[in-house]
Subunit: 403 residues, 2 copies
Amino acid sequence: GAAAAAEAAAAGADPYASDPARHPALIPRSQRPFNGETPGSLLAANPITPNDIFYIRNHLPVPHVDEKSYKLKVEGEGTRTLDLSLEELKTRFRKHNVTATVQCSGNRRNEMSRIKQVKGLEWDQGAIGTAVWGGVRLRDVLLAAGLSEDDPLVRHIHFEGFDRDPASGEVYGASIPIRKALSYGGDVLLAYEMNGQPLSADHGAPLRVIVPGVTGARSVKWLRRIVASPAESGSHWQQRDYKSFSPCVDWDSVDWGAAPAIQEPPVTSAICEPAPGTTLSAADGEVTVRGYAWSGGGRGIVRVDVSADGGASWRPARLLPPPPGAPQEHGAYAGAWAWTLWEITLPLPQPQGPGGPLPATVDLAVKAVDSSYNSQPDSVAGIWNLRGVVNNAWHRVSLPLEP
Amino acid sequence: GAAAAAEAAAAGADPYASDPARHPALIPRSQRPFNGETPGSLLAANPITPNDIFYIRNHLPVPHVDEKSYKLKVEGEGTRTLDLSLEELKTRFRKHNVTATVQCSGNRRNEMSRIKQVKGLEWDQGAIGTAVWGGVRLRDVLLAAGLSEDDPLVRHIHFEGFDRDPASGEVYGASIPIRKALSYGGDVLLAYEMNGQPLSADHGAPLRVIVPGVTGARSVKWLRRIVASPAESGSHWQQRDYKSFSPCVDWDSVDWGAAPAIQEPPVTSAICEPAPGTTLSAADGEVTVRGYAWSGGGRGIVRVDVSADGGASWRPARLLPPPPGAPQEHGAYAGAWAWTLWEITLPLPQPQGPGGPLPATVDLAVKAVDSSYNSQPDSVAGIWNLRGVVNNAWHRVSLPLEP
Ligand SMILES: [Mo]
Ligand SMILES: [Mo]
């Protein structure tokens, strides 16, 4: 566990030595800690992402938590302290399933780095996935701890993980506003299941938070402690990371207090198929494009537009049926926690006469609209930020075209 | 009133003859019905927009409703019918004040028309304003009518006005989702006051709806009837207007059922000063730029970036204190119904040596970020739609530069 890893680190041993094995299809973006993303073709093929290829975002070594002796502590302002075993959680509270997409704030960061270097993992578009999460409502647990919806002193709910920095000893932590934590319709879960299976070590066993419609960094894995508080979490990841700034702000001028911690991310979309590097053939006559679209805050996807000419003209894509457990109407105003997969078949440019000229590339682009009619910025430059987060510019893939 | 106007129309008389006088500062966009917008300089100068220069958006002739005989009817699925006089409303229910911005869905439509003609009033950036609205909570009135939050048959709340089309007889109407209507934090008001004054005829006397964080078309004026229903309002303005589509959709191909009615609008911002046509002088050394930023759904403004080089580089503007009654923290996650005014002083380009070359124009641009980190599209083309609604592209103002 965490203590063992810290001891190992102190002894000069590799604190990552006990990390679990990962599926070979995951594309690694770092090894220590392990971070790996799902290939686009596997995202687009599965409304629910299979567990073993779900992207992994670890900030620290994977803690191994003994499920039998596990206790969740709930404490802080306005609460009676609770210590709950996994068995108590499962038996004292009603089980709920929530179909929700989880996305890293840094998804699609590599497009920002291409403009100007940013600090962070070089994610392509695969740091996102959708699962049916099973567990108990955070709301129910907080109410059982005596928290009142009207307590003016409680503004934020903190989550602390068992994962710990081997060097500094800092524990992973994050917080969400009380309104989201206590909201009946907010659907925040303490999850022990992912697609009907117990959580794996990489995904937070035995218990993690799932904050639907909120950036992945708040869905704390290996949950050890919940704290009710007047203030936000003071953790590094809440205060000095996962925030976005004006493009003019650099590492010398950044004032971390000037921007709010990312909670709900903006509307986004990405092309998953064809994969970058695919050569298209004009003789095929057409190309089928597939991908995902998603927005924060439970705002459903209303429309996805796809372009084959770099954004000069657009066609609306066909939206696939929402995953099981998600609202079955597209563009729901609330509770649309899951992504929308989409596809469209577009004609390819044809030579003007035999051997006639053909564009060298087909420049695909996608943009989505959510239920509050937010859409995506055209280009990355205007939203570039030193940490490379919340990139939701039109997603562009240019593919070579052969006759 | 409405009946008189209809009779007048039938008799061939002008149904708009009894419309009230308007402040000469309002910029008219149509006369029958009257629609007029607030000049930018007056928006930027006032955190709360004065009543007499608040933009007016009328779909039909102004009905003149007798306050003494006025009755509001509340009826429909799951309710006991209520008929409430203005006096009963004021005495049976607690009074609340809500500071909220109201914006027409067509604000900034004229930028869309410049690309390709759209149908609608040619609004510049002034079809927006902010007031302190006084009245009773819609929630309280609905609960008094016996509506239950758990009634699965009630999904939408309809509002009908006293205003009526003189030709077709159709009454103005709109609806909002039940979740918003009944939400304690949703702050939907039945308002009889605007900035401490009784509503004027143009703004809906004696009673109107204010739906904070939602597009103006749902804040029905001259409120006659509230209906609880399983379905959305069937009105023209809910079903075949105030929706946005892909840029490829034209009046021959439009399928009104394919897009949801606009409720929460996307994040937007605009430059109000200097006014278009102002000539800048490089000798002044600098220019002060002022404007507003606002987002739907109660999402506060986190940041406003301003460019003096057409969007190549950006500086964050100073955000002015929120108007009275609005959350006093910028970038609030909820309840930020009011706009954020901003200002910034930027250096002007200087000639390289005496008589040296100078750019012909200073190309100002602004974009805002809301608390869900949504930002604005770079250009109008990607969000162009046949009805010219929800234009939230970067707002650009190019000003001639003299030495
Ligand atoms: Mo993340
Ligand atoms: Mo409107």
